[in-house]
Point group: D2
Chain length 346, copies 4
């Protein structure tokens, strides 16, 4: 049994790790931390996690934690994660960091977009960006995973086949994303209170959302040249799900059939990416609670534009499910272990 | 492997059976029927069920179906189920009927509330009401299960300990229930269209809902004398979940502590009933997608009234999950097999 | 033009006063207070209130405010309202208090349920409970209105005709209410954050909600003898609306027709109460944004029980609309002035 | 009093006309038609419209209707509207058509996108596209108004100032729109049933939605040269509202300040367009139930892209409110008469 600790376990990504890992036969949860709920039983704070019986949240005391687990999931706020990651990593623990602190390989970019200095460059250099469809081989050998952001997961998986095949013009890529409210985290905040969000819909962070450089870093890596994108997030009045609509001009003559074939082939062996048939587009309610990314593609010949739509559950494929996928790869479990639940529909 | 067929598999209870059974290691789905989707692949109609790959819906042809499976789940409309149940039952197949056709043991009551004659009395006499917490021993030996209605499940589990202990006056029991929209089934109907339901809330079927005699039959059975209840269903603008608030006068002096103890003890060994601590009441979002029934009880001394609140997912504990629980009991699987998922929260 | 000030104008009842009064031809808003938004323009904080142009929120400085208006709406927290009400009242201003501080005529009951001493008994003695259907004549002469609570409004209007006619047994009245989230106020609070509430439903405050004594006070007043009720509030995942389902045994032989007639007659002249036809029950989406209270009644002969369902918009008839109705009555405007909007459906 | 008839009055745009016109002092509704509800009282089918008392839906009998009103709102299905519009128009009645049948001035484009022949070319030549911000002068003299589509209203108002000022490159305009479910109409259809839509989100009609040529026609007219756009609609799980996010490269050096100024100036005198301050973006919940269009603009210098976000209530500014605005202009009422309600927030 792999001993696993979760730091920051009372947020939405933390409890999603607990929910999924409850069905993983090879894992034992040995510690969970939470400042606001320290001392309370997990099942008292979250009745749906009754299976964890007597397990209690404890404060984040690294020295007390370090020997309790082989692998640490860190679901801490950006900035706060830097030091904690470095601590467990330097003590030879496997670390999967769900924050943004180790996703941007260039610390200058991190400092520019997050307004924070990166103080743990050696760990940063060892971190592997945990998108299995892109970095499976590296993840196998990694000790420190920077788990991708939710929006970037949907954008990168949506664009990867098109970029690799060279069919799109990379000079004017539009990434228009819509996310459910769990993406904002679990907190007392008027801006995410029910009556402010329900029956509403808005764009936010236009032109300056922090997931932009993460998307650009990975797209540029795939393409081999710098890519700049327009990324606009919106807030959907639903609990879970991201739907991303991507626009790019095609750079040469192609057909719906060819484009569909490129996508089908690219993800044929991937257990968690489903490319939909021509004319079918994803709906977030088909991935809710599951680790799938659904992708639909449409070549609009009239405008020479490729439109790609991808859907994920932001808490699963966009966070905790992908983190567990990474854990499975790092530790030699079957890749899909614990992640085979169908979506909950309706 | 137990071979299982699902008749009426394209409704919400049908696809919920498919969702849950996909995680059951001892079952193989050998046939699924649907009139409206006959000839189509399950995964084309329901993308979230992609795991079923090539499985296709077929029309309901009993003779062609009967040899394909050991156990038949019937999720057919009331009335239509009578004959199908009787057919498979008479051919020595295990049958779990999710309709109301075999729930009321007195055919006269059935005819009065459903406006239909019951034409298969021999099968009716053999049917066991499939509420495991009440009839586990009989279910073990049963060949034909009448799977309980969603509202009755929440009402009966809520009242059983109080009735058995004799602490309540049975002359004026109020059962005020609120259900999510999946309870109305999957259909093209203006009354359940999004804009008619969303941001709305209403009572319906006041004084004449068909689940009333089902509730009364089981409460009377527990009590040993006839019980009449006021049952009022309401339509909640959510996908899943029933919350039932029950009121009954206490018939003797008691205390919160005593009442809590009675409930804790009654369900101590039950894998799917969770009695909450004093002062804690259930929320449907803690059972969504799971087979749990959560129960909270409050003795209001000021009014000598016991108030019981129970919550279930109407598609799981209120239908398909309970049906699979019954299957597990009938066929000797571990009771919780396939049913151990935590609720999806949020 | 009547000069009106609103104290506590940045909560949901405050902005609802502003929304409705924008359509009232006889009123001019001369001051609005808000601690959290002091100094900001109303239209910057609430873009939908753009009509108020340059009007700014100011801090609650009573001495600076007192001469600015003829009538003060106070939408302050319970407890904080006591002194403010008394201040403006003693300076001969008309006051409509939307808090609970002046609703309970017996200060001992107030102290017991609210845990606060009432320090302004002279003002309390002058306060009129502002339910126009019950106290129209007194409201006309009142200088201080205690605007009814949202739950009590729905319960009292639902029960009044039955109580007056003497057809019900008052010994076991059940008031099962369900409210939208605006009822909890506008605040940063995890308990009302979107993901905690959405797709959820729960009971709360069972047996001890503070609206209980308010309901009992008014029902007892109508009946002429003390009445005790079981009142259970629930939280609906919608913005607006209260639906209350009421159960009472009938105390003598009656018929649906007779009961319907009693209700029709009771509210025939009321501009804001609509009694629905037999077999029709209210839906909160038919009153959303309007000052109507819809009522449906059903006599269940099988159980000798009268079931009454009432629906209001908690922010309008349950708060700000009723407050403006009271203002109209106090100041001689046409009763329906400013309140004639239809509900927004869907 | 202007006598007004509404044909197709039991759909969502029809009942929205009724809701708004109830507050218009210069209008009397003399006839309403509905096939499905013919013979029923408006207030029995739609309890929130109780103000209409005895008014009944009648079948669509043109000869019986023509003398009853001065102005006809037609809210009929596309195709069916052609003949009805032409009939009333040829009899010298004022006609405001809410269908798409008279929006596309080139009948060949209509036939291509709608698959229908246009049989009433003379009427088509007289029709004025009823977007007041663009065609106020023509609307004043018009006898036949083609009321704009909901998506086109949001797209055209969003782009008009940028196009007129010449600051954007028109070769690659992206219009990414998200609409509430009322946009799909009032009907029994599984695709818009609550459980299929709720907690879901999807794109549809990618590359071939019929509002595309309407958007292109008007943008081309403003620009003076042909413009082709990518238009992608999405279905939001809310009742009302369209939010449109528009992307266009800037064609010359500019600044946020300059762009903001262009938009502020363009709409300074418009009663129903609100240009938000820099950094503020619209939310559909600020326009719900109102006739406003809110617009936010952001110049992203990093990508030389102008991002425009517009929000309307699809049933009001996107349909019935705009139709009444057109009526006011055509008949000489004050432009804002009946349309001054604030949005219902929350």
């Amino acid at each position: 049994m792999l001993k696993v600790a979760i730091c920051g376990a009372s947020g939405y990504t933390g409890i999603e790790l607990l929910r999924i890992l409850a069905g993983h036969p090879g894992v034992r949860i040995t510690a969970v931390t939470s400042e606001r709920s320290a001392g309370k039983k997990v099942s008292d704070v979250f009745p749906h996690l009754s299976v964890y019986g007597g397990l209690k949240f404890q404060p984040m005391d690294r020295d007390a934690l370090v020997d309790k687990a082989d692998l640490f999931f860190l679901a801490l706020p950006h900035g706060a994660s830097q030091e904690a990651v470095s601590y467990f990593f330097s003590r030879k623990k496997l670390v999967i960091d769900l924050s943004a602190d180790f996703r941007l390989s260039d610390e200058k970019v991190y400092e520019k977009w997050y307004g924070l200095e990166h103080k743990f460059i050696p760990a940063l250099r060892k971190a592997v960006y945990g998108l299995p469809e892109l970095y499976r081989a590296r993840i196998k050998k990694a000790k420190l995973i920077a788990n991708p952001g939710c929006y970037p997961t949907s954008a990168i998986l949506g664009l990867m086949p098109a970029l690799r095949s060279g069919i799109i013009d990379t000079s004017n890529i539009i990434v228009d994303s819509k996310s459910g409210v769990t993406g904002a985290g679990r907190k007392a905040d008027l801006a995410v209170s029910f009556c402010e969000v329900n029956e509403g819909f808005k764009a936010y962070g236009i032109g300056n959302h922090r997931h932009t450089p993460e998307i650009e870093q990975e797209l540029s890596g795939i393409h081999g040249k710098n890519i700049t994108v327009n990324f606009t997030p919106h807030l959907l009045p639903v609990d879970r799900g991201i739907l991303t609509t991507i626009y790019a001009r095609v750079s040469k003559k192609t057909s719906q059939e060819e484009v569909g074939g490129i996508y089908q082939k690219a993800y044929k062996k991937e257990p968690f990416v489903r490319v939909l048939a021509a004319g079918v587009y994803p709906n977030i309610n088909n991935v809710r609670g599951s680790n799938f990314c659904d992708i639909g593609v449409k070549l609009v010949e009239r405008t020479s534009t490729l439109i790609i739509v991808s859907a994920i559950d932001n808490l699963v494929k966009g966070a905790s499910g992908q983190a567990i996928h990474n854990m499975n790869i790092m530790t030699g479990f079957r890749e899909t272990e614990g992640l085979q639940n169908m979506a909950l529909f309706p």
